[in-house]
Symmetry: D2
Subunit: 442 residues, 4 copies
């Protein structure tokens, strides 16, 4: 039901999930749920409790909220008389759905020291048991009807997995001990010089944009439509830390002529001098170190710059005599590429930080490593209408004042991304794993 | 020089102004400058001194700033060794040009009780005399070189004429006496029922967007480029006060489901219950009156609603089952229409408030009366590059987080507007004469 | 060393503690330390982690900070080459002592999810072991020299015990579940009518104020000095909830004439309608319930009103035709009374909320139940000089803009209080167990 | 009626004013009113319009407000059916009297560009004419009854005369032109070395404090009562600029140990490095200049430091090994001295800035030049009760969180001050002509 309105091809989708094998569905559900718990396994109850600022949520809240999502939009939809697991949890763990009733104010999620973590895990167990049973025994019609929402629920939980890593990094970064979420595997070998930057031309013309193929996508990725592009060039890889240091050394953070007006105001108000999580090297030499999920270490000049705002990405592009790609340009290039890259596979084994791009002829690093700011404001596609019902609030109501990012990052669960995937943040925000790739007119 | 970079047709424009008649230029300059003084003539020195909030400027500052513009970008460019009229004025009256040196902080323009108004007028007289002499005797080459900047300077002053009216209305609205800038001519006759709303189809396809013809335009109106539109319908006239009252009575300001997330946050933070400058009728009946430049009076249900934010326009459209037009859709419709409408002609004789649309078959009221919010964020057109030099800061650096409005209003000087003209405000702002026209997909 | 400067009677105090029995000292130290852990025993790691607002601290931080106090001001003073238990803990757990080096910003204490609670308890164990050994084996001279600081350290920890209860109440009150720190013993019997209010006269004259007797006191309680009082009357007991309800019903929170200017500004800015932690009864009758450490329950009209600001105390007194006592008046009455009352004995058995005053002829309830706002700003006594060294920052630097409260409360550890004891809060603060007793001129 | 309650000697005062000569009363009234207009004569309508921040008011508002005071508390009291001069003026020009009805919010006084200055002066003329007639012809009983309020009205206007100078200085200081209210008479001769600082002993004991003699005083100066003082020493003169520079050079603004906690917080939040209105000398030498009503000039090391906060005065005293006097100590010394000093006589001829103290044996400069911060919070005297009626709001409701200053300054109208006069400001405020005199214990 969700997909139909969005794509305008109602027949295709309900049919498709009906072929899904129950056991593989149950396995997928279990695997997604397990990854959340794997992410939390390294955290103490205290780590999971604190909300460092309004934009971030406590891990405990994330864990409860994604559970509430399945309870509310699947279990209580399928069984309309089903009571909530706990009468207060809908209030506590609803995020922003007006249609689902009142809720704990977002800035006060960190005050919820009760329910304790054990109760939240008990909630999780109970909902998981019911979900598994439902997937096992539901009538085919019921299963078909709930499948689109199940897909949303799984994708939703994957989004919160990335948020858990983002929010924990923000929290830990404000602790003077600068704890590591996980130790680095070994002292990373110096990665050597970055791959040379090359430019790849695209001829422009009319291109199809947005999700239209079978398979799940969020409503904001559609409807698929034509866009008219002018010829352009796109960089073969993302901007590196080494290039960013050159920008800084050239006064990038001190020259208002490089910045959008609102960006320069933010630079001054926030005292920005470098990307988020860069810290001064204490050796007095004026150098920089980079803090991340594996602790503090040297800056790898070949790795992509990360944790920058749109304002910084835009200023860098101006300094470099280039510009940001639009989201349509980005998608036109990405559409023909395999969705492969450095994503989140398992928190115990991943690098947990962006890695240098390989040397290559064609565009690389389009997927994974860092989200790439585009020059496109996040607005509805032509013909977009949010789905009916409460889940219509999922994406549509955020379509103002934010900018689109594309491609996923090293904290995005593997398998989550699509070339049509649209992420969005406010232009001043830096706690996502956000970087930049340049473009220019032909 | 300004236009060339922008339009990509460098040869055309320098040639064109060279044909201009010196006397008509001098007359145009004098006429534009006179209109500013006509607007100020009804104001006391105190009225012209106060800055009610950061976004607004004192009339005295407007008057000085537009003068500084001619002094800085024409007289001191033509005569590089020319000293400023007063050594402190460049600091006091520069608005936001980094390239022109440091400046008085914007929120503190109202603190400049010195220089007194007489000195500002003396400044004006001196610059006007020099400008007039320059226009009279400049070598043809010099004249040709300065003409593009002169056009900007005149258009710039016209923009500030509209700002003077906007800012004075804001200031007076916060005085409990609610003074009238000018008395209304007479008790306005009830305007009767609004013209019926009709929908006009546009077939979509590839349309040319942006300024490309001879004649002046701002850099942000170009370069002219093709855009691909889907078929759409646009409303024959703007939304009226009567329709807005229906929205209010249907709980428009109390239903979060109608609003963008940021919009609803603003409604709650600001306590919005009606458009800006609507005031409760003191008779206890719960009705509304409208405050404006001619004082407080009844709400004309047939006149277009005015002083609404983008958020309100967007919520209204959702409530009405429609949407806002994009700026390209708006321009595609407007391109074929004469630029006629209810603009500012003379403050002594104008209505100074939007008037009802006439009954008509085709789209009317596209120009004048109220600026029309579009659904388009204010971003550069494909291929846009700001002009070189300080005037490159005029438009480009504002291209984030604002929305485009089109069509001009009753406070826009007649002759100022073009179908390609792009105005822009933040989505929460309401002190412009901003309204809304609906669109929908075919 | 600390006491000497303060009291001006250097000989008396060092001599006195030298008689102390080592074993009783060790037992006192252990008992005070144990009470902190008893208080924490009912809290989860998450409860102990969160800082609900700048003025409050996490329980975990309190527990670590009081330990740092003994480590820093005793162990590292006695053994100057002793290293800190952990190199980062002095930074993390210093509260406000400039002399002890830089520190974690107060508003960010809640961000310290690391070190985990276990490490903080390990810290505690280590310091306790060393303190116990030191008390057991120190040379008599060393013991004598450290005793004044030990007394401060123990009193300091008792102050933080009260703060733990205050801060946990504040935290839990902002959780929509409104958890109880501990269940109430049983449904409290209706306590019946409050004891009648009587007035007790004091003849005024020159009275001795401040600490001068043997035994420990904080530096801000001295030096003892004479004060000249006019004849006055003081109320036999504190203002009750029943009396406060009468004030509310008479429009106490709506009449600006009853309030100090700053108080009325606070009423309006904060929307105060009742004491802190009073909540509307959900039955629709407009009544009130009281939330506290044992949960939410009916308001006992005979119990003293608690969790009011100085502004409210002052407004109430004005409404009642009386005034607040000065701190000298309060002390002149209290000096002759035994320091007996309803204090904190053990969190498992206490009422944890103020109890009604007994019927009595003389003044009662001067000690315990609720801190009593006085009309005296917190300023140094005549001749006051802070002690030399870092502990001179303990009290002196707070002597501006706060008001004195006297008498202790139900959350103050038994044995902590003296008639000369001066507590202090800003006039708008309400999270202490603060109440009010009236006075008037004769 | 006003004085009686306050002093407790009701018979004395009504009798006394009855001896007043009508003509001398009319002359006094006229002289006070004229001085306000003399102060305004150097200001433009724009200067008189702007409110630079909430604590300051526009000169135009001051001029209207003092007029409203006579209209409201005398003319409309004597003639109860008298209508206001203009129906909106009570709303616009009431300052803070709840009893006198609603009013323009204080932060928005500067928005009142209407009524124009001419209307305010017309208001002034009308009230002055009626006041003069009333003083000329009122029945003796009426005259006697109104005399206490007349005295308040005149003293009130004198207070606003000082405020006009303070507020204009604040406004002009924020104009980058740094205009002079009036040019300095001539380049001031270097004043030479400051008089040597001497200490004068007071034996302490019981002293009478507060106003008790015949003649007008504000209610907050009474009731007269005894206070018990310890022996103390007071400095012969105020702290000089030269001494303050030594404090600065010794790191006075960088050493937290010298400051009260709230004071240090203010230093950091505001970036204080010197007294208010000190500006860096532009010659690059790191020196300072002083801006004042006669413009910017060198700092006179012998003149008293001015425009310092209580926090700065307190920190200086701590640095100097001294303390601030209490208000009772100050008054005990001042009581025996003639009320002579450097006050405001006429804005055209005065220095308009504090002058060095003369060399002398006894305490000098107690009156005039600079207000002297005391260590006493502004609280009611024992037995104080505000007068009945609306004028009871004049002083009493401000008695929290402010500190007492004594002695008047160079902007206080001559004749306005008494040894018992209590001025009060918040401890962080600096725009009054506030300085400091040291004291110490014997």
């Amino acid at each position: 039901m969700l997909d139909d309105d969005r794509t305008g091809t109602p027949a295709a989708h309900p049919a498709e999930p009906a072929h899904a094998d129950r056991d593989s569905l149950r396995a997928r559900y279990a695997a997604v749920r397990k990854r959340t718990e794997d992410l939390a396994a390294r955290l103490s109850p205290e780590d999971m409790q604190v909300q460092p600022r309004t934009e971030c949520s406590p891990t405990k809240w994330h864990i409860a909220h994604v559970t509430w999502f399945f309870e509310t939009f699947i279990l209580r939809e399928v069984f309309p008389r089903r009571k909530p697991f706990h009468p207060d949890f809908p209030f506590l763990f609803n995020s922003y759905y007006w249609g689902a009733g009142p809720r704990q104010p977002r800035p006060e999620r960190g005050l919820l020291t009760r329910p304790p973590l054990d109760d939240v895990y008990a909630y999780r167990r109970a909902i998981d048991a019911d979900m598994d049973r439902l997937l096992a025994i539901a009538e085919p019609d019921t299963l078909a009807a709930m499948l689109p929402v199940l897909e949303i629920g799984l994708a939703h939980e994957e989004q919160h997995q990335e948020l858990i890593l983002m929010d924990i990094l923000d929290l830990f970064s404000r602790n003077p001990l600068r704890p590591a979420y996980r130790p680095a595997e070994a002292a990373p070998a110096a990665s050597g010089a970055a791959a040379a930057l090359r430019w790849h031309e695209h001829p422009g013309g009319i291109v199809g944009i947005g999700h239209g193929a079978p398979g799940f996508a969020f409503d904001n990725e559609g409807p698929r439509h034509d866009a008219l592009l002018r010829p352009f060039r796109i960089a073969s890889r993302c901007v590196t830390n080494g290039e960013w240091l050159a920008f800084m050394q050239d006064g990038g953070y001190e020259r208002p002529d490089l910045w959008l007006m609102d960006g320069w105001g933010t630079v001054q108000a926030e005292g920005w001098q470098a990307p988020e999580y860069w810290v001064r090297d204490g050796d007095g030499g004026g150098g920089w170190l980079q803090y991340g999920l594996t602790g503090t270490g040297p800056i790898d000049p070949a790795a992509p710059v990360v944790h920058i705002s749109f304002y910084e990405a835009d200023a860098y592009a101006r300094w470099a005599g280039a510009r940001l790609p639009t989201e349509e340009e980005w998608e036109a290039v990405a559409a023909g590429l395999p969705v492969e890259g450095h994503f989140l596979v398992h928190p115990a084994r991943d690098a947990l930080t962006p890695r240098p791009a390989p040397a290559a002829v064609g565009p690389v690093q389009m997927f994974g490593d860092v989200w790439e700011w585009t020059g496109s404001p996040y607005r509805p596609y032509p013909g977009y209408r949010p789905p009916a019902g409460t889940l219509g609030e999922y994406n549509g109501k955020f379509m103002s004042s934010q900018m689109v990012l594309r491609g996923g990052c090293c904290a995005t669960p593997a398998g989550h991304l699509r070339p049509t995937y649209r992420n969005f943040f406010y232009p001043h925000e830096r706690w996502a794993f956000s970087g930049v790739r340049l473009a220019e007119d032909c």
